[in-house]
């Protein structure tokens, strides 16, 4: 019940912040709309008659995967930095529910909000171009959510580093670009790359939606286990760093 309160508090915080910074919110939605429209029209224009429905599907799925991954990866580290700068980080640490839970729910709210915005943009773009696609959004978002949890775990590791070192944007940048390359690696049936975070889930989503591939149940269980493992590892590292930050009195410093 109390964790539901946390989810509610973080959802409201996101709503209030989006409303308060309306210009930024409108600009973000406009940019997203332009990107989606660009994909719908651009693929056809540049690719000409050789472009198939699969190309567009592939591009859209790849884009949704990439945005969700970037968002999940930079979330906790970015939030810790921003709370430090605002001078509110220590107040979060006075929550009896634990700061790690606050940051976890903040990441979840961010990911879910991103799904909502993406869906609206997708349908607006389809309506504007008259080009309708049949993507199973429930499967897409379900799988993206499951796989990005592993990146939330990595983000917690970054957040832990952020507590000590504060500025970690360059590490985040390396990870983000590294991830684009890693997403192209083969994972099924069981390659060593599948043990990396997010990669197996991303490949399953892409192959399933774009090429209609199907996977056995154990593969989905493996993806879930991968996410749980990285989430648990991320939290463990975060707690360890948190302890160190408290020992060095670095909580309030920026």
């Amino acid at each position: 019940m109390k964790t539901l309160n946390l989810f509610g508090a973080e959802s409201k915080m996101m709503y209030w912040s989006l409303r308060r910074y309306m210009f930024n919110t409108v600009a973000m939605v406009a940019v997203l709309f332009l990107i989606f429209m660009g994909m719908f029209w651009g693929v056809k224009t540049i690719g000409g008659s050789g472009v198939t429905g699969d190309s567009l599907d592939s591009m859209l799925v790849g884009y949704i995967l990439w945005v969700s991954a970037m968002l999940a990866l930079g979330n906790t580290g970015g939030e810790i930095l921003s709370e430090s700068q605002r001078g509110t980080l220590e107040q979060l640490y006075l929550s009896p529910l634990g700061a790690h839970r606050i940051f976890f729910f903040r990441a979840i709210v961010n990911i879910l909000f991103n799904f909502i915005v993406m869906t609206i943009m997708l349908y607006l773009s389809m309506a504007a171009t008259g080009r309708w696609m049949t993507i199973n959004l429930l499967y897409l978002y379900g799988m993206v959510f499951l796989s990005t949890l592993s990146l939330v775990g990595i983000s917690f590791m970054m957040g832990g580093l952020g507590l000590i070192h504060k500025k970690i944007s360059s590490v985040n940048g390396i990870l983000s670009f590294g991830l684009i390359g890693l997403m192209l690696l083969p994972t099924y049936p069981m390659t060593p790359y599948a043990f990396l975070p997010f990669i197996a889930g991303a490949a399953a989503v892409r192959n399933s939606i774009v090429h209609g591939a199907s996977f056995p149940g154990w593969w989905y269980l493996f993806i879930a286990a991968n996410s749980i493992f990285y989430m648990a590892l991320g939290l463990a590292v975060f707690k360890k760093m948190e302890k160190k930050a408290k020992r060095l009195n670095k909580m309030n410093q920026y």
């Binding site: 001078g87 107040q91 929550s95 408290k246 020992r247 009195n249």
Partner: protein
């Protein structure tokens, strides 16, 4: 009143080669307001943050309501609110009402249960009219009142306030002081407070802890401190500026300082009172006012610190 709410024993914290707090022990009784005084860097904030579990201390123990902060931090935090020095404590891009709702939420309290409390806090701190305005536009005093409301939103029994009136003007300091005294009395709060504002501390605290270089150098009630360091000062206002001869004869009777047409003298003994009056009479300058002034907390604080240094 006699039960200990916060018990600190042998608290020690060092950062590399600097010992911030060195083996300090004290207790805060339930319903009490205890003040911590000390120069900058004396270890006040380290002590408060150790009690909140925001700093991992090296040695000693801290119990809050019988629970160890090391083992039961989350349980303890349900009953604790705090304002931390040098931090905003609240979100300036949100309104007071949004901040109250958010901080209640992250403490696991549903909004329905908090509505009356938020209304009461906003009213008593005179924030109702601005409850839905962005805090960024507020004055420093109003921002601090919002931070206070957020620290009190979950109705905690214990409050730790680190320099809650730092940088605020006299009027807002007085408002916050009156509000804290009223709420503490009405709701039976236990408050541990640090401040450089001696008047503030003297008004709201019964007991005071003076810390210097991480060690407690005084731990007693305001009254006993005043008794211990009671000195009779006399403030004499004259019609004209005191001349050299007068200053010389008054200085022989005790520590003397002058400001404009006034002389302030701390007599070594009350036996010097008559010679003082004689010197004033013989000076030929008309005396406009003669009053005895007791040492205030600031004088006492400086004296305690000075004694320890010597």
């Amino acid at each position: 009143m006699s039960q200990n709410c916060i018990q600190v024993k042998g608290l020690t914290k060092a950062y590399s080669d600097i010992t911030a707090v060195n083996n300090i022990s004290f207790e805060v009784r339930t319903g009490e307001i205890l003040g911590i005084l000390g120069p900058n860097g004396s270890g006040k904030t380290t002590t408060l943050k150790s009690i909140l579990g925001l700093i991992e201390f090296d040695k000693g123990s801290i119990d809050v309501n019988g629970l160890s902060i090391r083992k039961n931090r989350n349980e303890i935090l349900k009953n604790v609110g705090a304002i931390l020095e040098g931090a905003r404590n609240i979100y300036w891009h949100l309104t007071p009402m949004e901040n109250l709702t958010y901080f209640a939420g992250i403490r696991g309290i549903p909004r329905k249960r908090i509505a009356d409390r938020a209304k009461y806090l906003l009213e008593s701190l005179e924030l109702t009219d601005v409850a839905n305005k962005e805090i960024r536009q507020f004055s420093a005093g109003m921002k601090q009142k919002c931070a206070l409301a957020c620290a009190f939103i979950h109705d905690p029994a214990i409050l730790l306030l680190d320099e809650p009136t730092l940088g605020l003007d006299v009027e807002i300091t007085r408002t916050i002081m009156d509000w804290l005294v009223e709420v503490a009395k009405k709701e039976g709060k236990t408050i541990l407070i640090t401040s450089h504002n001696m008047d503030f501390i003297e008004t709201i605290c019964k007991r005071i802890l003076i810390i210097r270089k991480g060690e407690i150098i005084s731990h007693e009630t305001v009254e006993s401190l005043k008794d211990k360091f009671a000195r009779k000062h006399f403030l004499i206002d004259l019609q004209n500026k005191p001349h050299e001869a007068l200053i010389e004869s008054v200085s022989a009777l005790g520590s003397t300082s002058t400001s404009g047409n006034s002389i302030r003298v701390e007599l070594e003994t009350l036996d010097h009172l008559l010679p003082l009056l004689q010197a004033l009479d013989e000076s030929g300058i008309k005396m406009l006012n003669f009053k005895s002034v007791e040492n205030d907390l600031e004088d006492i604080f400086l004296e305690v610190i000075r004694e320890e240094t010597e």
